[in-house]
């Protein structure tokens, strides 16, 4: 019978229950993919936020600036979301996974049985362990509600201190400047985005922010947060200096929400460990998105990717894997950031041990740094060079040797390499 109806044969799980914990971008794509692939069983999507699945990149930019509404970030329009026929549980916290009984215990005591469980629990904004870290004027930015709370504070003449010169910190700083606020960025390391980009790009970012009138203090630790005498907020630096301000935004990274998995005894290492089929150490439990750690062949090591691309693609892969479809998730990491008018993109993992070839002039408005092993491009990064970088992606994926001199020559179109 299946032979006559091959489209049905693909759906190995016509019945049963699949529960997705986490309704961000990964969870949303997992849900959508399950239905698209023909899963007609019970599908439960649990989110601890009140918002339906959405993309987060605009939260530090267009939504924070008030240019776009929070609803514009939703993955599906309301009618398309309804058409998925999910059991949608917003504002719901899962207390525990009972693997032996294959069921979840919710914080309100209810239990939910599953046949397959997909963990897309993402992460939460890291906070600093300093006095005053939970004071009312101290913000983080991860969720829609964070952006809604912070947006009204970004006004002409207001003073904003951003703690952390990483991606979130710099994007918030750029948005705050564009709204007319006075901005100071405080970074503990000696350069910006030290963990993810080479020093040439750190320099580029520093020049960009200084050009736009942001004060950037490098190599400065934070001793604490508090209130100044006039009722405003204050950041005390490790050297004793005090920065008075109207708002503090802490952007010092992400903590993966892997506690559910760890408590259930799943293998974890700074996130939930999964294989190329998105399976955890329990074959009925999968994980995807910011919380998942997986071996990445492009990096040659295990990685937890915090990116838009990974949230979408691994969410799709986990859903397909849960249905027993063929999945081999080995993404070439792709990341971008938008600050002021600048778009920076990264393909692969720029590694200091690789040979660097510059296309264009480093430090100018648009250039690309290629990272080569022999004559093979392994990674590329650059500002305002989306088109060249798209060709770079092809070079990296094809592992095709290139002539470094031609690669460096902006007179040679990338398409001809």
């Amino acid at each position: 019978m299946d032979a006559e109806r091959p489209e049905v044969a693909a759906a190995a799980w016509p019945a049963g229950t699949i529960v997705i914990v986490g309704a961000g971008q990964a969870g949303g794509w997992a849900a959508q993919t399950l239905r698209k692939e023909g899963f007609t069983g019970r599908l439960v999507l649990i989110g601890d936020e009140r918002h339906p699945p959405h993309e987060r990149p605009p939260l530090s930019k267009a939504v924070l600036a008030g240019v776009s509404l929070p609803q514009s970030t939703w993955l599906q329009k309301a009618d398309a979301f309804d058409a998925l026929a999910l059991e949608w549980r917003p504002g719901t916290t899962v207390a525990r996974i009972d693997r032996a009984a294959k069921r979840l215990e919710l914080a309100d005591g209810e239990t939910l049985a599953y046949d397959k469980l997909i963990l897309c629990t993402g992460g939460r904004a890291r906070t600093l362990a300093v006095p005053g870290a939970d004071a009312p004027g101290v913000h983080t930015l991860r969720r829609i509600d964070d952006a809604i709370a912070l947006a009204p504070l970004l006004q002409p003449g207001r003073q904003v201190v951003v703690v952390g010169g990483g991606w979130i910190g710099l994007e918030v700083a750029a948005t705050a400047r564009q709204k007319g606020a006075d901005v100071v960025v405080v970074e503990a390391q000696s350069r910006l985005c030290e963990r993810t980009v080479p020093s040439e790009i750190s320099e580029h970012l520093l020049a960009l922010h200084r050009t736009h009138g942001t004060r950037v203090i490098l190599g400065a630790g934070v001793a604490g947060f508090g209130s100044s005498d006039d009722g405003r907020s204050a950041v005390t630096l490790a050297d004793g200096k005090v920065l008075a301000c109207d708002a503090i935004v802490v952007g010092v990274g992400l903590v993966p929400n892997d506690e559910l998995a760890r408590d259930a005894g799943l293998d974890c290492d700074g996130g939930v460990i999964v294989d190329a089929r998105c399976r955890t150490s329990d074959p009925d439990i999968l994980a995807a998105g910011d919380v998942a750690v997986t071996e990445n062949p492009w990096a040659g090591r295990r990685l937890r990717l915090e990116s838009w691309q990974n949230a979408q693609e691994q969410g799709i892969a986990a859903a397909r894997s849960a249905l027993g479809l063929e999945v081999e998730y080995r993404p070439l990491p792709w990341f971008w950031s938008d600050q002021y008018g600048m778009n920076l993109q990264i393909y692969g993992i720029p590694t200091p041990s690789l040979r660097v070839v510059v296309r264009g002039v480093a430090g100018s408005e648009s250039f690309v740094l290629f990272y080569l092993e022999g004559d093979v491009v392994k990674a590329a990064i650059g500002p305002n060079a989306a088109r060249d970088l798209r060709f770079a992606r092809r070079l990296i994926e094809q592992c095709k040797p290139v002539d470094p001199q031609r690669l460096a020559d902006i007179g040679v179109p990338m398409s001809k390499l």
């Binding site: 794509w29 989306a386 088109r387």
Partner: protein, 104 residues
Amino acid sequence: MTINWIDAAAQDEVPQDDVLGVDVAGRDIALYGVDGEVYATDNVCTHGHARLCDGFLEGHEIECPLHQGRFDVRSGQPNCAPATEALRTYPVKIEGGRVWLALD
């Protein structure tokens, strides 16, 4: 019914195996040159509001420069995530060395 053909561009302005953004009667349109044919769609991606004329054309597939969603330029149908909504396409005719579109 008479079709209202509007002059969009010179035929030789449309690059082979590439994409050109044009304003046609106030509308943002993308013209694609593939295998000697010209195709026309809305220029704005149905997902992220990026302009497809800044994208990457491979065969009959245009890839959005922002999130790499892909569409078939002949039908406007989305081929991969995050694109889920079809692009609007427009009938094209070539006459007198010009590319004409039917917008309505």
